[in-house]
């Protein structure tokens, strides 16, 4: 039988045999296209706990599937495939294979938090999306997204020095994401600054770029923060059954 709505079926589930005879009946070729079953064979009971171990995912078990998050979602309005309600369900029930299929969409959450305020059970869907994107990275299903690299550089600098220097963050971010530092907008910004800024401020900026200002007595705070971050990372890695470094 021809299949009229092929678009509804995943291509990998459409099977044609060039030559196939079943019980003496020739079922070769296009007119005998088979659709492979898409049944769910098992639950991964750890999945909900894994997401719950990552910051933001703690309340995922509360969800009762009302769909408020998806209805409120900014991204869903543009891309109907972006469906937090659905992913929360997949995670709750442990349908990992289904979840991973959407790995190229999940990270698109823009953190507008409309879902957070719509959710009647305080699931914090935005946090769940963040945790899920992080989970996909930790498990090696997706590469680290540029935004995550930026966040990491930003936080690392705050943790280590108690303050941030935009120039340094940008520099490291572009280096880690293999982008040239001579971005047209950045060049434009800097030349504009040089032209218009008073000399005193430019000198101060230049001084600061060479002799980095320090936060007084930051050492103890830095150690405490790093200790906490390490502790949390160890917890997450343990919950996800990863070695200390991660999936890769």
């Amino acid at each position: 039988m021809p299949i009229h709505e092929k678009s509804l079926i995943r291509p990998e589930n459409l099977v044609e045999h060039e030559e196939l005879v079943i019980d003496g009946v020739d079922v070769s070729g296009h007119w005998s296209t088979f659709i492979e079953g898409r049944s769910v064979p098992d639950y991964n009971e750890q999945l909900q706990e894994e997401i719950a171990a990552i910051g933001g995912g703690e309340n995922i078990h509360r969800c009762w599937q009302c769909g408020s998050c998806t209805n409120a979602c900014t991204v869903n309005a543009i891309n109907p495939d972006f469906n937090p309600r659905f992913w929360i369900y997949l995670i709750r029930m442990g349908l990992e294979e289904e979840l991973v299929r959407d790995r190229d969409i999940i990270w698109q959450c823009v953190s507008c938090n409309k879902c957070t305020y719509a959710c009647p059970r305080d699931v914090n869907p935005e946090g769940v999306m963040k945790a899920t994107a992080h989970w996909l990275e930790l498990k090696g299903y997706t590469e680290m997204k540029p935004s995550m690299v930026f966040d990491e550089e930003f936080s690392l600098q705050v943790f280590n020095t108690g303050k941030i220097e935009e120039g340094k963050v940008l520099q490291k971010f572009f280096k880690r994401t293999n982008q040239p530092l001579t971005q047209p907008w950045l060049v434009h910004l800097i030349t504009g600054l040089v032209k218009r800024f008073p000399v005193f401020y430019l000198m101060k900026l230049g001084w600061g770029a060479v002799f980095h200002p320090r936060t007084r007595d930051w050492g103890r705070a830095r150690d405490a923060i790093n200790e906490y971050v390490e502790e949390r990372n160890a917890e997450i890695h343990k919950a996800l059954n990863l070695d200390a470094k991660g999936a890769d």
Binding site: G37, R38, S39, V40, P41, D42, Y43, E45, Q48, H61, R62, W64, Q65, F86, Y89, L90, R92, M93, L95, E98
Partner: protein, 350 residues
């Protein structure tokens, strides 16, 4: 005072009616076909009750001893009513032990019968030993035996509870919602999770109908505190791969067929009309409703009444009912019987 009131059935509704009448100074004859009082919660060995979390043997047992020790109550266990004649104020009941009881009124608190899961063969009860009913799980908990797979005594790592077994199903002529199974299942799921923390419990539902104000304490708590998982699917069939049970159906929220292994499948069995209702209807000459429960007219003007004056009804005899509501209805039927008894005495005096 007038002749005694005959109460038929010693479950929560009958015990409540008998106790209320007796406390009001009215003599009561309480008959029960079983050899002891307590009704389904005692005879079927329920564990902790909804919503009090009290053990059935303590809660209902307390009601039993309150009635058995009461000087105004004559208890006749192992006894049925064979014949019932007369008019309000002057009924005569012939019991199976040959004795006759003259009664001013009677209250039917004849209860229900658990749905027999064999009538849904596609869900594996009677075919696979590890497919059990909620009643059996109640017994595993109440006897202290613990939740174990009947086939080999192992502790299950994964339990599926199927809701609406014998309820809301035209295929088997049972259109009604049995009211209590959602809450009972949520309660059992929490008990299982508490007893076996490594066991995951999945509840397969069509709708969740935790009647009364039980949503927070049972539906929410089972999800939030006990991590019980609810899956919207009506299961097509329960089979076995030789080692574990295979539950097949469609997860309607994912729009995927599911075929998932379980160690134990629990049927949340519904409440059927009492199997004796046809006989009871003939003996007491009361109408049954279209489902086979004892029919009751509108609550507003005729609370506790049946189609026959002087014959009252309470509890699950009229349809699926919770224990708390059965007790309330027992007390309501008691006041209805008292009014009926006193008015017939008044009429005779005039």
């Amino acid at each position: 005072m007038s002749k005694p009131v005959l109460v038929v059935g010693g479950g929560p509704a009958g015990l409540s009616a008998a106790r209320a009448l007796a406390d009001a100074g009215q003599a009561v004859v309480l008959v029960d076909k079983e050899d002891r009082l307590g009704g389904a919660p005692i005879l079927s060995g329920y564990a902790k009750l909804v919503p009090s979390h009290e053990w059935a043997k303590d809660a209902i047992g307390g009601m039993v001893s309150g009635v058995e020790g009461h000087k105004m109550v004559t208890v006749k266990t192992g006894t049925k009513v064979d014949k019932f004649d007369g008019d309000p104020g002057n009924f005569v009941a012939t019991l199976s032990d040959g004795s006759k009881v003259e009664a001013s009124a009677t209250i039917l608190a004849t209860g229900f019968t658990h749905f027999d899961s064999v009538n849904k063969p596609e869900w594996g009860f009677g075919t696979y030993p590890d497919v059990v009913t909620t009643t059996q799980v109640e017994q595993m908990l109440s006897t202290g035996a613990g939740v174990k797979c009947p086939s080999d005594g192992r502790e299950p790592e994964r339990v599926a509870i199927l809701l609406c077994v014998g309820s809301r199903d035209r295929q088997i002529g049972r259109e009604w919602c049995s009211k209590i199974c959602c809450t009972v299942s949520a309660n059992l799921a929490m008990e299982i999770r508490e007893q076996l923390p490594n066991c995951n419990v999945y509840i397969y539902y069509m709708d969740i109908r935790t009647f009364g104000l039980y949503e927070g304490e049972y539906y929410w708590a089972s999800q939030e505190e006990h991590k019980v998982k609810y899956i919207k699917a009506r299961i097509a069939e329960v089979t076995s791969d030789g080692k574990r049970l295979l539950v097949k159906g469609e997860d309607t929220l994912v729009k995927r067929p599911i075929s998932i292994p379980f160690d134990m499948v629990v049927h949340a069995v519904g409440m059927d009309p009492n199997v004796d209702n046809m006989t009871l209807s003939a003996i007491f000459n009361v109408d049954l409703n279209k489902y086979g429960y004892i029919g009751k007219p509108s609550t507003y003007a005729h609370m506790s009444e049946t189609s026959r004056p002087g014959v009252f009804v309470a509890g699950a005899a009229t349809g699926p009912e919770t224990i708390d509501d059965s007790i309330a209805q027992g007390k309501a039927a008691a006041i209805a019987a008292l009014i009926s008894a006193s008015s017939t005495v008044r009429e005779a005096a005039e």
